[in-house]
């Protein structure tokens, strides 16, 4: 089983990102489960969402304490939330930032990777909404999900031009991270 934790702020679409990952992974032939950390939703407040992927039906319903992957949508959260908490030593923490990974002094053995998803989102979508870009990046980092499945999940959720632009951002993020893998 692969466990993913997504950190963001209310309004950044962390829960949507988790849902779209679950939809895409299922389209790819995996069982999936996505759920929010059930906070009282407020714009700007730290939000957490979880995703599980497995080859068999997923029964476990607890929150995720030892994630294989952590996705951080907003680098300012690193000072507020212990984003590295419990991350598996062989895992990856993916942070949306223009900075290099070396700038983040996280207490973790997990690999820290960074991507300027905000720039990609601005270039392709025209808005600093990075959730779809980051799940594209996750596909590139992990090799676990076909980027085409992510794009089709996103385009189904956001039909028309919006979905198409998001798909371009997803592909760009995937290509960048896949090259690093």
């Amino acid at each position: 089983m692969i466990e993913i934790r997504i950190h963001g702020r209310g309004g950044q679409g962390s829960v949507t990102a988790a849902e779209l990952l679950a939809v895409a992974a299922f389209e790819d032939g995996k069982y999936s489960q996505a759920f929010p950390a059930f906070g009282v939703e407020r714009r700007g407040a730290p939000v957490t969402a979880f995703v599980r992927l497995d080859d068999k039906p997923i029964r476990l319903r607890s929150q995720i304490y030892e994630p294989d992957y952590v996705i951080v949508q907003d680098a300012t959260l690193v000072d507020v939330v212990d984003v590295a908490r419990g991350a598996k030593p062989e895992g990856v923490i993916l942070i949306n930032t223009e900075k290099n990974a070396g700038n983040f002094k996280l207490e973790t053995k997990a690999k820290v990777k960074t991507l300027d998803a905000t720039k990609l989102a601005m270039d392709f979508v025209g808005k600093p909404i990075v959730n779809t870009t980051l799940i594209g990046a996750f596909a590139g980092v992990s090799g676990l999900i076909n980027p085409e499945s992510i794009k089709s999940a996103v385009m189904e959720r956001f039909p028309g031009k919006v979905g198409e632009n998001n798909a371009k951002a997803i592909q760009a993020a995937y290509d960048l991270m896949e090259a690093e893998r």
Binding site: F26, Y31, S32, A34, F38, I58, R59, L60, S62
Partner: protein
């Protein structure tokens, strides 16, 4: 299969059951179910009267009238909303109206808390409503047509609650098979009660019953619950024949037959328990699960039979009867064993209150604590996940 939110899967299954009247008042975490339903109605996908009301008390009251007039009725609520319905819940049952309601289980105030436990539905235990508890989204969705068929059966005619854990099941996205209209039509016959409110043929429902007749109304409700015991099993099997899915009738089990330690629970924690059991079985532990699907009617005989080889019984409760230091399942299980020769220790653990997470480590801790009974250390009942530093 499709990956959808639990609430959507339930709303879709309600749509497939073709209720004539829906009335509900939005309240977290039930909101998405009624939003989806009102959208279906607004989009003309459901031919149904959707009554917007100013409170949960009005919602259930409207449905009581509609059901008495012969309509198939649906509502959904949670927590404070269910508590506000309390008085009218007795009316629905006493008037033998098969209203079906999804209770998205949530904690009660104070302190205010929007997260999951099962105090809300457990607190309505004695209102005369059937209560089934679902383990996952598929079971929650499939429970709706099952409950209509059970509740509307002329031997039963009782209202029914489909209980699903708030957020944990209502807000999770996971793969489900959405109910098909053709199969649902095949499985669920239309509601055609013998007695209805009709101006052409006037009659009263829930009229005055003085001491000379009141007791017999209660007796007949109890007999209807007894009929439901059989009907719940029967309908679960019929559902399996039509849809090919089965979750148990009154109860279900997992690696139970040879188990010395038996864990009993209701709702979404079942999945986590199954994973824990698999883990501990690999280490040689003799552990199994007895899932309680029907809390009302309470399956006394089925439980006695299922526990006949158990050496230790653990009950998990997401509720507490304050002043008894026990959850309802613990109390009920103990009571159902007392007049038998089965003298197995029943150890109660309360957990998951107000949304406190239940990781595998909590279940392991509980099992280790219960095993101390073999060394003569007996715990009657306790909170399993207290934060001692806060006390």
């Amino acid at each position: 299969m499709v990956v959808v939110e639990g609430s959507y899967a339930v709303a879709h299954s309600v749509k497939m059951c073709k209720p004539n009247v829906i009335s509900a008042y939005p309240i977290t975490p039930q909101t998405h179910i009624v939003e989806d339903l009102s959208q279906f109605v607004a989009d003309g996908e459901m031919s149904c009267e959707y009554m917007n009301v100013e409170s949960e008390f009005s919602a259930i009251s409207a449905l009581i009238g509609a059901s008495a007039a012969g309509a198939r009725t649906y509502s959904s609520t949670t927590s404070q909303g269910l508590a506000l319905m309390h008085e009218a819940l007795f009316n629905a049952s006493g008037m033998r109206l098969p209203v079906v309601m999804t209770v998205v289980n949530r904690a009660l105030s104070a302190p205010i808390n929007i997260w999951n436990d099962q105090q809300d539905s457990i607190s309505q235990r004695d209102t005369g409503w059937i209560q089934l508890y679902a383990e996952d989204v598929q079971e929650s969705a499939d429970m709706t047509p099952q409950l209509y068929k059970i509740a509307e059966d002329e031997e039963v005619l009782l209202p029914a609650m489909s209980c699903m854990d708030g957020f944990i099941l209502s807000h999770v996205y996971e793969p489900v098979i959405l109910l098909e209209q053709s199969l649902t039509d095949e499985f669920l016959p239309p509601f055609s009660p013998e007695f209805v409110l009709d101006p052409e043929n006037p009659m009263s429902f829930g009229a005055f019953a003085d001491p000379s007749t009141y007791t017999e109304f209660r007796y007949k409700q109890e007999k209807a619950m007894e009929a439901a015991l059989l009907k719940i099993e029967e309908v679960a099997n019929e559902f399996n024949e039509v849809y090919g899915r089965y979750y148990g009738g009154l109860i279900d089990s997992y690696l139970l037959d040879d188990a010395e330690i038996v864990i009993m629970a209701m709702g979404s924690v079942i999945g986590t328990i199954k994973d824990t059991i698999d883990m501990l079985r690999k280490e040689g532990e003799s552990i199994g699960l007895l899932k309680i699907r029907s809390f009302r009617p309470f399956p006394v005989e089925a439980i006695r039979t299922a526990l006949k080889n158990a050496k230790v019984v653990i009950t998990l409760d997401k509720n507490i009867s304050i002043g008894k230091n026990e959850g309802a399942l613990c109390t009920e299980v103990k009571a159902c064993l007392y007049n038998t020769n089965l003298r197995v220790p029943v150890i109660g653990f309360m957990l998951g209150h107000g949304g406190r997470d239940i990781p595998i480590s909590t279940i392991v801790k509980i099992i280790n604590k219960a095993k101390l009974v073999e060394k003569g250390i007996f715990v009657e009942s306790e909170f399993a996940d207290l934060r001692e530093e806060l006390i």
